[in-house]
């Protein structure tokens, strides 16, 4: 089970795309990469999870932690590319009410 984390940084945006499975084994990796980034003041972080095939509640814990950090440092936080299963996870836990998830405009012209 592998996890790959790609980080693209521009002046205005920190784009992070995650691929693979996020569970108890891979979540610590994710936490180590994301936490230092979330502590920068005023960071604008966008996370794309379209390449994530599985995520359990441990992964959710990492994102909530990162979200809280970003907010505490006056930043912006967004999660995109959630599959139906992941979207449901964010809805059940009430997190979709406080975290901006899947808000990008869908149905783009191909």
């Amino acid at each position: 089970m592998n996890l790959s984390i790609n980080i693209k940084e521009t002046d205005i945006l920190l784009e992070i795309s995650v691929e693979g499975e996020i569970d108890a084994y891979t979540a610590p990796q994710l936490r180590e990469r994301l936490f230092p980034l979330s502590e920068k003041n005023g960071v604008n972080m966008e996370i794309n999870l379209s390449g994530v095939s599985y995520m359990d509640s441990t992964g959710l814990g990492v994102f909530v932690g990162v979200f809280k950090n970003v907010k505490a440092n006056n930043g912006q936080f967004k999660i995109n590319g959630l599959s139906g299963r992941l979207q449901r996870l964010f809805e059940i836990t009430g997190l979709s009410d406080i975290i901006d998830v899947n808000s990008q405009i869908e149905g783009e012209v191909k």
Binding site: D23, A24, D56, S57, T58, K68, I92, T93, D97
Partner: protein, 336 residues
């Protein structure tokens, strides 16, 4: 007799046999010898030095430079010997840790123990099985002085020991809440404040809290981001999702939790679960909630405890007896 005392003649015999006819059998005796010497904690450098001294006795005319070469072999082997002894001591430590883990798991069982209450008119069954030693799932029953039955089911996000320790704290927080007629929503609000203040900021808890009043057969409930359970309507033979909105405990201090209500008719069931049940992964992917319903339905004629036991057994088998996550399933059935 001590192995060390017989080691020298034994090894000598091995050497002599092999030098004589280079047979497979003599080599095999060498393998047996090495197993014996490992068992008796003989280090590799001891064997090398034994080899050298025997060679000197057996072949007195051996060229000196061959003998010198053994000094190098000896030096090199000392490193291996140290690594081997380290390995032995780590194995020993691992044994110790494992037994401490077992003790911790037992203590947790005792600390978090809850008794399934005996209530007229209500049949209750519960099962909770950890994926590893320590259980991050938790359920708790309370029967108050008005005979109301409360049930809490919770899952700590995060696994293993930290999650388990955290759960113990929640249990004591729950026990110390005043019992007198607090609704499920306000109980969750209280626990949320405690978790928000006291728990590691990256640890969160999902919880479903239900309260059944046998006087009017009314179930009140609230949820803090917990995996929704099911409600079985016996008259319609129909399962519906027991959904309730609410944020995880420990994220936002001022979170409010709404109370939901449902009238429970004879034969109806309230089914509560942890995400370890729905995240049961099989060869064909995750089990769907509909499949879970089918399993429950299959055993619906049984008692609540038998249903949860049998459903667990079936799902365990589907996952080849390897739980990925802690598994908790609770059923409350109003007797007919």
């Amino acid at each position: 007799m001590d192995f060390r005392d017989v080691m020298e003649p034994k090894y000598r015999e091995l050497l002599e046999n092999y030098i004589k006819d280079q047979s497979e059998q003599a080599l095999y005796a060498g393998q047996k010898f090495s197993r014996k010497s490992i068992e008796h904690k003989i280090s590799p450098e001891e064997i090398v030095s034994l080899h050298k001294s025997l060679l000197m006795q057996m072949q007195p005319d051996l060229p000196e430079n061959v003998l010198y070469s053994f000094d190098i072999l000896l030096e090199v082997m000392i490193g291996y010997g140290l690594a081997y002894r380290e390995h032995q001591s780590l194995r020993h430590k691992q044994e110790e840790l494992r037994s401490e883990m077992e003790i911790a798991a037992n203590v947790q069982q005792t600390l978090l123990g809850t008794k399934i209450p005996e209530v007229d008119g209500l049949d209750i069954g519960a099962i909770s099985v950890p994926a590893k030693h320590m259980n991050g799932d938790y359920f708790h029953f309370v029967q108050d002085e008005n005979n109301c039955i409360s049930v809490a089911i919770a899952d700590v996000i995060g696994k293993g020991i930290p999650a388990a320790l955290c759960m113990s704290m929640i249990k004591y927080a729950m026990d110390s809440l005043p019992e007198n007629r607090m609704g499920p929503g306000s109980i969750l609000e209280n626990l949320n404040r405690i978790v928000e203040q006291n728990v590691d900021p990256s640890m969160f808890i999902t919880m479903f809290y239900g309260m059944f009043n046998p006087e009017n057969n009314l179930l009140s409930y609230a949820s803090a981001g917990h995996e929704p359970g099911f409600y079985y309507d016996a008259a319609k033979k129909e399962f519906t999702e027991l959904s309730a909105k609410g944020l995880l405990l420990g994220v936002e201090k001022r979170t409010k939790y709404s109370n939901y209500h449902k009238e429970v008719h004879p034969g109806d069931m309230i089914i509560l679960l942890s995400d370890g049940v729905t995240e049961c992964r099989t060869d064909d992917g995750f089990i769907e909630r509909e499949i879970l319903i089918d399993y429950i339905y299959k055993y619906i004629h049984l008692s609540a405890q038998d249903i949860v036991n049998k459903v667990f057994k079936d799902l365990e088998k589907l996952q080849h007896f390897q739980l990925r996550d802690d598994f908790t399933l609770i059923i409350l059935k109003r007797k007919v």
